[in-house]
Symmetry: C2
Subunit: 151 residues, 2 copies
Amino acid sequence: MTARPPRYLDDLPLDAPFECGSFTLSEQEIMDFAEQYDPQPFHLDRAAAEASVFGGLVASSVQSLALSCGLTVRAIAGVQVMGGNAWEDIRLLRPVRPDRPYAVRARWTSVRPSESKPDRGIAKIAIEVRDGDELAMTYGIVYFVRRRPAA
Amino acid sequence: MTARPPRYLDDLPLDAPFECGSFTLSEQEIMDFAEQYDPQPFHLDRAAAEASVFGGLVASSVQSLALSCGLTVRAIAGVQVMGGNAWEDIRLLRPVRPDRPYAVRARWTSVRPSESKPDRGIAKIAIEVRDGDELAMTYGIVYFVRRRPAA
């Protein structure tokens, strides 16, 4: 990870979208991931995928989740995340297909200091995986984030 | 995938838990996955993890999600899943640590025929990742599932 200045709960800008980069998957990458983590015919087998409602091979939603998580975590390097609490509302809006770029955009949607632990709070980040102007997947992650230490 | 007799929306038993197997991760597997998909210090670096609130290396929740998804998909092979619609309420209750077995248990919690498309419906499955008697992670997946064709 690139060294970045630390950012605390108190520093997170609300509702300011930022770009996290993009990913593109080959057919082989889709099939290899699915073999291990989501072995369904429309992720594994081109002929079965063509006969499916998708009309062709599509990536496991777990793979899109993992790749967009990786890009987001790199984009927020420096934020003093103590751990994760939950993932919320993962909506699969459009399939992720091979050989197309999917852009990832994120924004902090809420921060709330802990009532019981003064060193931390809860921050929610909303993540979008975009296929051009359309949304392919949206979800949220709820993190525990450290508060800025008293000067 | 093992060939299994097809099961349709109409065949899914509600609220009957079934075992899907278990997974155990090595430290190296945790670090390799995190490097690609969730590069946070407590997933990547043993010293940083020991200094964190976890007190040691813990797996990315995306990795636990991917592994438990893979086990569940294998356990429901034969069910005529047409695609995914959403993932719901992923709660991270206890960290997933190296060299411990985590058992995966699932149950169908609801099935609802589509009002507009008579060939399909929506089925929800609840998945638990268990650390002995404790829950480590719980979540749901919402699938479109084919209905039994008219005889």
